[in-house]
Symmetry: C2
Subunit: 194 residues, 2 copies
DNA sequence: GTCTATATCGGGATAGAC
DNA sequence: GTCTATCCCGATATAGAC
C-alpha cells in the first residue's frame, strides 16, 4: 500500500466523486478534479483514458457493491420478512455511506455514452429484479399483502434511494434510526403482515 | 392567440424542455434548442436573456403549478384523509402530465445559479411544509398512525415524484391506475387508519 | 508519473444588417 | 423578429520534455 493510504488513481477518483456530486458531470472541469487530486489535468490521462471513464468506474463500482450485498443477503436468509428487512438496511446503509457516489449514480445516467449506459442500466435492472423476487415470494407465501410488485418495488427503491439527497451524518437522525424508520414505513405499513 | 396555437416564446420553451430532459441542461446546446423551435440560436436572445432563464422558467412554472393546486386542495377539503388522497392524485397527475418538466425540476437543481436555486428551493420547501402539515394534522386528529412526519413526507414525495421517470402514457397502467396504487400504498399501508 | 505547452473544438453570447 | 457572422472563452485531449 502507498504511504498516504491512497494511490493517485484513487485520489483522482475521489476528487471526481466530489466534483460530479457538487456540480454534475458536464459542469465539472477536469482541471478542477486534477487540482483537488494535486496534479495537472494532463496527468489524469496517465491513469484514466478519458473523463467518461471516471464516471463509469464510479457508477459500476457502486452498483456492483449494491448487487453483491443483496445477493449475499438472499443467500444468508430464506424468510421474506428477514430478507426485506436486510435489503432495506443494506440499501440505506450504502446510500448514506457512499452518499455522493450514489447521488451520481442516480442523477448522471444521462451523461453516460450509449454502451456504458446500457451496462449500468443492466446492473440496475438486476437489482430491481432481486427486490421484486423478494416481494413476489413474500406475497405468494402470504407474508406480505398482495399488490403490484413492480410498482411497489419502484416505490421502495425510490424512497430509500432519496435518503442520499437529504441525509447528513451530523443531522438529527443516525443511519440506524433512519433504517428503522424506513423498515417501519415499508414493512409495518406498506406490506403489513397479514 | 397565434394561428399555430403557440407563440415563438412557447415553442422555444417547449424545445428547451425536450432537450434538457433528454440530454441535461449543460449537455443541451442552445443551437439544438433553436433548431427544434425552427429558428437560429441568436434569435432566442430576442425572447430570453440567456440559457439559464429557460431553465428557471421551466422550474418556476411547474413548482408553482404544484403549489397552487395543493393550496386549492387544502382550501377545498378539511378532512386529513381526503386531503392526502387529493394531494397524492395531484402530485402524480402533474408529474405524469408534465413528465419532462418535472424530471428537469428533479434533476437540474444543481444547474441553477445560486440566487435562482434559492428561489426554486424555497418553492419546494413550501410544498414539503404543506404536505407535512397534512400529515401532522392527521396524526393529531388520530386519523393517521403516528410517525416521523418529516421522513414520511420525504418518503411520500420521493415515491410519487419518481413516477415521472418510469411512467409511459402507452404503458401497462393508466395515470388513474397508478394514482390508485399509490393511494393504496400510502394510505392503506404506510399511514393505515387506526 | 508528472509536467508545460498547445491543438482542436464547441459552447454561449453579441453586433449589426434586413 | 429573425438572420448571418463572429467574438471569446473554456473544455477535453494530445505531444513531447523531464
Amino acid at each position: 500500500m502507498h504511504p498516504e493510504g491512497a494511490s493517485m488513481r484513487e485520489q483522482i477518483l475521489a476528487a471526481a466523486v466530489q466534483m460530479f456530486a457538487e456540480y454534475g458531470y458536464h459542469a465539472a472541469p477536469l482541471r478542477d478534479i486534477a487540482r483537488i487530486a494535486g496534479i495537472q489535468a494532463a496527468s489524469i490521462y496517465h491513469h484514466y483514458p478519458n473523463k467518461q471513464a471516471l464516471l463509469v468506474e464510479i457508477m459500476e463500482t457502486h452498483m456492483l457493491r449494491l448487487n453483491t450485498a443483496l445477493h449475499h443477503i438472499l443467500h444468508e436468509y430464506a424468510d421474506p420478512l428477514q430478507r426485506l428487512r436486510e435489503a432495506i438496511g443494506n440499501h440505506i446503509r450504502l446510500h448514506t455511506t457512499y452518499k455522493n457516489e450514489f447521488f451520481i449514480v442516480d442523477t448522471e445516467i444521462r451523461a453516460l455514452e450509449p454502451e456504458n449506459r446500457a451496462h449500468i442500466l443492466s446492473l440496475r435492472d438486476t437489482y430491481e429484479k432481486l427486490i421484486q423476487e423478494i416481494l413476489r415470494d413474500g406475497i405468494e407465501r402470504k407474508v406480505f399483502q398482495p399488490g403490484d410488485v413492480k410498482v411497489i418495488s419502484y416505490a421502495i427503491i425510490a424512497m430509500c434511494t432519496e435518503v442520499a439527497t437529504w441525509f447528513r451524518p451530523d443531522g438529527r437522525l443516525s443511519v440506524q434510526q433512519v433504517i428503522e424508520i424506513y423498515r417501519q414505513i415499508i414493512i409495518g405499513g406498506l406490506l403489513a403482515t397479514l
